[in-house]
């Protein structure tokens, strides 16, 4: 597998020790500490190449029309919000309809966070290693790390709310399973799930299962639990299609390079700047 070849090269190599021997030592260490054994390279799936999210950037397309554009079982028609968060969401929808709901990423300053990182245009890379899994997005750019080296999730008091949180996972055959906690949610009004104004709270916990359902399709199933924001688990399915063209490159995405659409800090309106930098609208 292409990924295996590249990734083996990235393993730290000590004099006289082969990567295979090092991996064996890592496995032994994990087992000795009572942790889940890491899955060796040979048993990991090949998720190499560039991928694109399928569909538009509405996080749960089932919420877009009320009828749903996804037929995968388990996709909900609407987030099962608590009354308080339903009120917040409806407020965001009203602002959106008035073109006054700025997307926090429009000003090119903050990560998109989780799970919105699964909801972006442009290319993705899914980097599989025994000890860690990376989601690398061109858009943003954004990076997410999922530790698969046998460690446990930190205690809640040892997290403080970040955009992407902390994620720990393991492999069940060809399926990567991980949990994410420590998300900041809507605490600072700068982390949303999509431009309709979907938000979660800082109590959110996301369980993610990722697997290839065929050679060119990755499926991601999310179960989102959030005692503040949701009355019951919210199930969302995302899919990614592999770019079939050979030897495609990932590129820079300097969001601030030529951002002609900043949000007005007062009105929240998305501005359009002319080539001279002055607002046109």
């Amino acid at each position: 597998m292409h990924n295996m070849h590249v990734n083996r090269k990235t393993l730290p190599v000590l004099p006289g020790l082969s990567p295979r021997l090092l991996l064996g030592l890592l496995l032994s260490s994990c087992l000795a500490m009572g942790q889940t054994a890491v899955t060796p390279f040979e048993k990991l799936p090949d998720w190499s190449g560039l991928w694109n999210m399928m569909g538009g950037t509405v996080f749960d397309t089932a919420t877009q029309t009320g009828k749903g554009g996804v037929v995968t079982p388990g996709v909900r028609e609407h987030p099962p919000y608590t009354p308080a968060f339903e009120k917040i969401y409806q407020g965001h929808l009203a602002l959106r309809d008035a073109d006054r709901y700025p997307d926090v990423i429009t000003n090119c300053g903050v990560p998109v966070g989780y799970p919105r990182i699964l909801n972006l245009p442009d290319a993705y890379e899914f980097v599989v290693r025994p000890d860690i899994f990376y989601i690398v997005t061109e858009n943003g750019p954004n990076t997410m790390r999922v530790y698969t080296d046998g460690r446990k999730l930190p205690a809640k008091e040892d997290t403080w709310g970040t955009y992407t949180g902390v994620s720990v996972g393991h492999w069940e055959g060809d399926t990567l399973v991980f949990q994410t906690i420590g998300l900041k949610g809507n605490r600072d009004n700068d982390s949303i799930l999509d431009r309709t104004g979907l938000v979660l709270s800082d109590e959110a916990k996301v369980t993610t299962r990722m697997r290839k359902i065929n050679e060119n399709t990755l499926e991601v199933k999310l179960v989102i639990e959030d005692p503040k924001a949701l009355t019951k688990p919210w199930n969302v399915t995302k899919q990614f299609r592999k770019n079939s063209k050979p030897a495609q490159f990932m590129y820079d995405y300097g969001c601030a390079e030529n951002n002609r659409n900043p949000a007005d800090p007062v009105t929240g309106k998305t501005l359009t700047l002319g080539p001279d930098g002055k607002p046109l609208n």
Binding site: N52, G56, T57, V58, Q64, T65, R96, D97, D99, Y101, P102, D103, I105, T106, C108, L120, P121, D122, A123, E138, N139, D194, R195, T196, N243, K245, Q248, F249, M250, Y251, D252, Y253, G254, C255, E257, N258, N259, R260, N261, A263, T270, T272, G274, P275, L280, N281
Partner: protein, 137 residues
């Protein structure tokens, strides 16, 4: 440009009309754009092939000769580059006709739908795009 390069470029552009990957305006809300498609013909002033979105600056003259500079927004160069678009696709001085979704407030800004090039070739959703904007990409 050699004939083979021209043919390859044409093939890439043709492929783009089929495989254009949505969404293209995901950096910000598309709420300000109209559902309707407007067509403008003019001269390319500049093609800003930079992130987060590409912009085609086009000078358009009306019947009285008054020139208005239109700003037509397109996808990220990363995305467009993988589909065969290059900074040279719209070169200064080129005469083009562009289909776009104009902003509803009347400013000379639009979201790219498709274009007809000087040689008659088309790119984007010139033939198939109905201009309907996706819901809040």
């Amino acid at each position: 440009m050699k004939a083979t390069n021209i043919a390859a470029g044409a093939a890439l552009i043709a492929a783009m009309t089929i495989f254009m990957v949505p969404p293209i305006l995901a950096h910000h809300s598309s709420a300000g754009f109209s559902q309707d498609v407007k067509e403008i013909s003019g001269t390319v002033k500049e093609f800003q092939f930079r992130n987060p979105h590409s912009w085609i600056q086009v000078n358009v003259a009306d019947a009285s000769g008054k020139v208005t500079e239109w700003s037509v927004e397109w996808g990220s160069p990363n995305q467009l580059g993988r589909e065969g678009i290059r900074p040279s696709t719209f070169s200064p001085g080129m005469n083009v006709t562009i289909k776009m979704r104009p902003m509803m407030n009347g400013t000379p800004v639009g979201g790219f739908v498709g274009a007809k090039m000087p040689d008659g070739k088309t790119i984007g959703k010139w033939d198939t795009g109905d201009g309907k904007k996706p819901a809040y990409e």
